[in-house]
């Protein structure tokens, strides 16, 4: 079995669905995620909607607690207890992920949807050789023999730029560096040739120099195979390097979305703007950094009206009365802000 056969390009390999025409690869619709206990409900993610088309690369940016990671985990079906999907829908290739039987959904995990986690230190099983961990998915989903899956694992490691892959395949995770471990995670994720790759801050735990290599690798792999990407991060610069589309989350809501280039050039939500102004820009080192005042609200007591209002420089009275809906402010641009029109400044 060669790698090419395991890829979704061209003829559909075993274990892969054919694409349903006319629907996005991933559709998240009005998704709410939270904790329910007794009569109380705490919403962490509220009414999030977005589409990802085949081959599209989407970044979701937000601070800790904004709900971006939980949104991603809801798609993967890996919400930590006691968090659950409260309402809304997630469709993959036209099929309802939340409604389908658990077994059918698990069969998608690997060959159709794969996930890369934040901490390559803890996301690998410490007592299993990395080669075996990569081979596990292909054995289960592609029906490969142990030997064939092992060979595929070595090829996958070679593809992710791991030197001396045959020897490294026999290593345990703790014997490898952080960067190598994250490459192993990536090799594992792409081993069954998924069409959708979910990344949860895959570079946050890595040294800056290694970060860039890993991002380049992800970008190349996605480009080579036409894989779609949903990339969660708190780092705008990372999105700029890897993604074409952007959604900004704040306090459980998407507050702005659009193409990365457009959004960076002219943000239409005060929070996005605040994020851009508070991040260092190596192209313009003389620019003053402007931090966003205050802290994001606690999940259990979000303010009435626009959640960003207490920290917002553009705030007006009506901002605290109702939650601004996510509306189209320009072609392909959505923002959830009553005062969006006042943000017409072009940043760079």
């Amino acid at each position: 079995m060669s790698i090419d056969q395991a890829q979704p390009t061209g003829a559909t390999a075993s274990g892969h669905q054919s694409l349903v025409p006319g629907v996005p690869l991933l559709r998240v619709h009005d998704l709410s995620v939270g904790v329910r206990s007794g009569g109380r409900t705490v919403q962490i993610v509220e009414g999030v909607s977005f589409d990802v088309d085949p081959g599209q690369r989407m970044g979701i940016v937000g601070e800790s607690g904004s709900g971006k990671s939980l949104t991603l985990r809801a798609i993967a079906g890996l919400l930590p207890k006691p968090v659950e999907v409260l309402s809304g829908g997630i469709e993959y290739n036209g099929a309802d992920l939340l409604g389908m039987p658990a077994k059918k959904r698990r069969a998608l995990m690997g060959p159709e949807i794969a996930m890369i986690f934040q901490e390559p230190m803890t996301a690998l099983n410490p007592v299993m050789r990395v080669g075996d961990q990569i081979a596990e998915g292909p054995r289960r989903h592609l029906g490969l023999s142990a030997k064939a899956a092992g060979e595929l694992a070595v090829q996958m490691m070679a593809r992710t730029g791991i030197p001396d892959p045959a020897r490294r395949a026999r290593a345990y995770p703790h014997e490898l560096s952080g960067g190598l471990r994250q490459r192993i995670m990536i090799a594992m994720a792409v081993s069954c040739g998924p069409r959708l790759l979910l990344c949860d801050e895959p570079t946050t735990a890595l040294d800056v120099t290694v970060q860039l290599q890993v991002l380049r690798l992800l970008e190349r792999l996605c480009e080579d195979t036409g894989t779609s990407l949903v990339f969660v991060t708190h780092d705008l610069a990372v999105v700029n390097q890897t993604c074409s589309e952007l959604a900004v989350m704040y306090a459980g809501h998407i507050v702005e979305s659009g193409r990365v280039k457009d959004t960076f050039r002219q943000p239409r939500h005060p929070y996005t703007r605040g994020l851009l102004e508070s991040a260092p820009d190596f192209d313009r080192p003389d620019r003053a950094l402007v931090p966003i005042p205050g802290f994001p609200p606690n999940v259990s007591d979000r303010p009435h009206g626009c959640p960003f209002a207490p920290r917002c420089g553009y705030v007006r009275d009506h901002c605290t009365e109702a939650v601004p809906p996510l509306t189209e402010v320009a072609p392909g641009r959505l923002a959830a802000c009553f005062e969006s029109d006042r943000l017409d400044e072009v940043l760079a």
């Binding site: 800790s64 607690g65 985990r73």
Partner: protein, 293 residues
């Protein structure tokens, strides 16, 4: 990232936050259940002379081996003594020895372990080598051998248990101290010019003692089991004094005809241990909630 949101969300569900107030103790169901069970047992033991009209030791062979009746709720043993009466009087012996037996090893072990852990060096080495030697002997082997050497009886039981179980306290306290002495608050106190004694007693003591205390609860269970076992082997409290272990030994003879005789005292041990275990679990929830995840 995820964990932050989830933690705050779940914390919000659990409001009001746990506090060390009396109400929090009251709310701790495990602790309360343990307190109630142990409390009732202690009460029964203390009030034994007034709870039953019979004598625990006086034989009445005409009444031997009776089945449960309104006069003898749990029947009588082979000497015609009321089983319930002996059960209650047995609680006096087993509970008293169990509780008292913990004290000596608790003090000796904790102090030696704490000093070894805090000061390290040759003292630590010596103490830990001795601990290793004692640790090589299984609990029962040493207790049985020592009770034999010292002669059956209550004081031998105290000595034997003390000689064996101080080791566990020493190990626990040493481990706690090794961690505690590296904590910032201890380093800060030392830099602030406090004496070792003051640091040990004032700063470290309260923080590490809870672990030894929690262990002591399970240790009482161990000790009661040991006392009962010694009684069963005929090495414990000498007959005719009522004691649960020797009651089981007596009852075992009649296992085919009067199976209650061996079953009932064992159940008494189980209930006692259950109460003490719940108490220990509840205490550990209360004293170090952050460790029990």
């Amino acid at each position: 990232m995820t964990t932050v949101a989830v933690a705050t969300a779940t914390k919000a569900m659990r409001r009001p936050a746990r506090s060390r107030s009396l109400r929090a103790w009251y709310r701790n169901g495990t602790l309360m259940a343990g307190l109630v069970i142990v409390g009732l047992l202690v009460l029964a033991a203390v009030l034994a002379p007034w709870l039953t009209p019979y004598d625990p030791v006086q034989q009445d062979l005409a009444q031997a081996l009776q089945s449960p009746s309104s006069a003898h709720w749990l029947g009588t043993d082979k000497y015609g003594r009321d089983v319930l009466t002996r059960l209650l009087w047995g609680a006096r012996v087993d509970l008293r020895i169990g509780f008292l037996a913990v004290l000596i090893p608790f003090v000796i072990g904790s102090v030696l372990g704490a000093l070894a852990g805090y000061f390290g060096g040759w003292f630590d080495t010596v103490v830990m080598r001795v601990v290793d030697v004692f640790f090589a002997f299984p609990f029962y082997v040493l207790v049985i051998a020592l009770v034999f050497i010292l002669g059956a009886g209550e004081s031998s039981i105290y000595l034997a248990i003390a000689a064996v179980s101080w080791v566990s306290y020493a190990k626990i306290m040493r481990g706690e101290l090794l961690v505690a002495k590296k904590q910032d608050y201890v380093v800060a106190a030392r830099l602030g010019g406090m004496s070792h004694a003051r640091i040990l007693v004032k700063h470290i003591g309260p923080n590490v003692l809870s672990q030894a205390l929690i262990y002591a609860m399970s240790d009482i269970v161990m000790d009661i089991l040991a006392i009962v076992t010694l009684g069963y082997l005929g090495l414990g409290i000498a007959p005719p004094t009522a004691e649960w272990g020797s009651m089981i030994l007596d009852g075992q003879e009649f296992i085919t005809t009067q199976w209650l005789q061996a079953t009932i005292p064992g159940l008494a041990v189980v209930v006692t241990s259950l109460g003490l275990s719940l108490l220990g679990d509840g205490l550990s929830d209360q004293l170090s909630p952050e460790r029990r995840k």
